[in-house]
Amino acid sequence: MSENLVDTSTIRGWGADANSDNDPTFPIRHREAQETRGLTWTRPTQQDADVEILQSVEHNRRPAVIGTSTPPSGISGMIRRYAFRRSESDWLHWLLLMGADRLNVVEGVIDDLGKGHVPNIPAEMGARAEWKHNKKGLVTKAAVLAGLTTATILVFRARRSKDEAKPGDADMLALSPPETFS
């Protein structure tokens, strides 16, 4: 096919609407400043990475500067690597990453314990602020939690006496922490 289908110079009024001042997308698409087309700019110096960087499959080359915080690790890292085989338009890419994030929380607790640090989860959740500014809410949540725990134990006791289930399971349930404070 020829490059120009028609000679636009023969069309009366052609280009009359090309005034970029009338462009409703300004400045989101700033045509005057758009002198380049495609990947033609003078690139900044490329940063080297000494950690693993997962890269979107939509990039044809690594951006010049990269973040090096917390490289992928553990099982969550394996899921992340797999997720990055899929494009940003693939829902599964994001769902896998969200799943990896949840698993990563458990890995974080294991990591803390491995370093001999028992995380103070109520403090990490801002329990002090809750106590100071929402005492009633905190007490209510604690009461609801205690109530639920008691109810669970009672249900399990009742069922255990009926089924003669193994001991221990009710205690485990009673120990499970609240998911959130809010």
Partner: protein, 382 residues
């Protein structure tokens, strides 16, 4: 150095971390003097943004003193007190050249849809943020601006995100003199959008939220008509009635994925996380704007899909505009507005918190306790 450390949804603490280093010739290391917690940090804090890895440091709103610069940095020198826009932008790529500093192509390996952002998950590049004593600032010649002598650093730190984001929300609305503008969300960005709407010539500014103390603040600060959607049967019908059944000229979504107010959206977007957050504020914006009107979106949503009434966008001929703010493009104008007293960002700061108390600050802000509008951290003391 001490830095915020994300441990999982609703869990953060302060830990000793290695000092950041110059990793690229255009890097600078900045000693943080002020650092905010942003409403959009709450999306991370609530576990809604994919690839938010345990162990990272948040914080995309900060200012500080330059400690060290890489060999290719020309515009900054150690000792300069700078404010650092939240966008990490190279200044050279196709998008930076157009002033789209929020959409840089040379700063985020993990995604192409969004540029690099300090401390905002690996989806925004995997950079550690400024809720720390020190932070690495890439492309130091492009983003940072030396804080003018006359400017209060409390104003400066809000110029890194909430002021330009709110201002750009109003700008993208294409407001014409006399327009009715509805802003959904009375957080700092919504407040700044409402206040900026007057600068663009709005004739009427309405702010919608569900937290009374934020609405009270909006009433005097913006100043705006305010309504609590919890007290109104159907906010869309209400807004139509307010505008002679036509709808508002411009609606601004300054809420994003952490919205309240709809059980189905909360279940799917917030609890199950099957969509990119609860999109009810966007629903309301699309349905309350008039035919041919503009919906401007600056609320943060994740990268996955959202249940949004796109049919109404088509049928009503709505223009949708949205972006991360291009902070650097807007700074000169906003500095002028602050100098002339037309906007007063620091009035939004309600809490000043040492870095050590970060877990409490996050909870306070997230649970909307103690009248919190905007908390500022002081990582290296006052």
């Amino acid at each position: 150095m001490l830095a915020m450390n994300y441990r999982g949804p609703y869990r953060v603490r302060v830990d000793e971390k290695p000092m950041p280093a110059i990793l690229h010739p255009e890097d600078a290391i900045v000693r943080v003097t002020r650092s905010c917690i942003c409403g959009s940090d709450l999306h991370l804090y609530h576990g809604m943004v994919p690839d938010t890895r345990v162990g990272t440091t948040f914080g995309h709103e900060f200012c500080g003193v330059v400690e060290q610069v890489g060999p290719e940095v020309r515009n900054l020198k150690p000792g300069d007190h700078v404010l650092v826009p939240f966008n990490i932008a190279c200044g050279k790529c196709e998008f930076c050249q157009q002033g789209l500093f929020g959409n840089c192509h040379e700063s985020n390996a993990q995604a192409t849809a969004v540029g690099g952002i300090f401390g905002y998950s690996h989806t925004a590049g995997g950079y550690d943020g400024g809720q720390a004593q020190y932070v690495r600032v890439p492309y130091a010649d492009v983003g940072p601006m030396v804080i003018p002598d006359w400017m209060d650093p409390d104003d400066a730190v809000l110029l890194t995100d909430v002021v330009p984001t709110g201002y750009q929300a109003a700008e993208m609305g294409g407001i014409r003199p006399g327009d009715t503008v509805v802003v959904f969300g009375a957080g700092p960005v919504g407040l700044m959008a409402a206040r900026s709407a007057w600068l663009f010539g709005a004739g009427r500014v309405i702010v919608i939220d569900h937290i009374e103390y934020r609405l009270d603040f909006a009433r005097t600060y913006c100043p705006a008509e305010v309504y609590n959607f919890r007290e109104i049967d159907d906010i869309v019908v209400f807004l139509k009635k307010q505008t002679d059944s036509l709808g508002a000229d411009v609606c601004i979504d300054a809420v994003g994925g952490d919205a309240a107010g709809n059980a189905l959206q909360t279940l799917i977007g917030t609890k199950l996380k099957l969509e990119a957050g609860n999109a009810i504020a966007l629903h309301w914006a699309i349905n309350s704007v008039k035919k041919g009107g503009v919906v401007s979106i600056v609320g943060v949503y994740g990268p996955t899909g959202n249940i949004v009434p796109i049919g109404n966008v088509v049928n009503k001929g709505i223009t949708l505009r949205a972006n991360q703010a291009s902070v650097k493009r807007l700074l000169p104008r906003l500095v002028e507005h602050i100098r002339e007293g037309r906007i007063d960002p620091k009035a939004m700061i309600t809490h000043r918190v040492p870095l050590a108390d970060i877990a409490d600050a996050y909870h306070l802000f997230s649970a909307k306790l103690d009248g919190c509008i905007k908390p500022v951290l002081l990582p290296n003391g006052a």
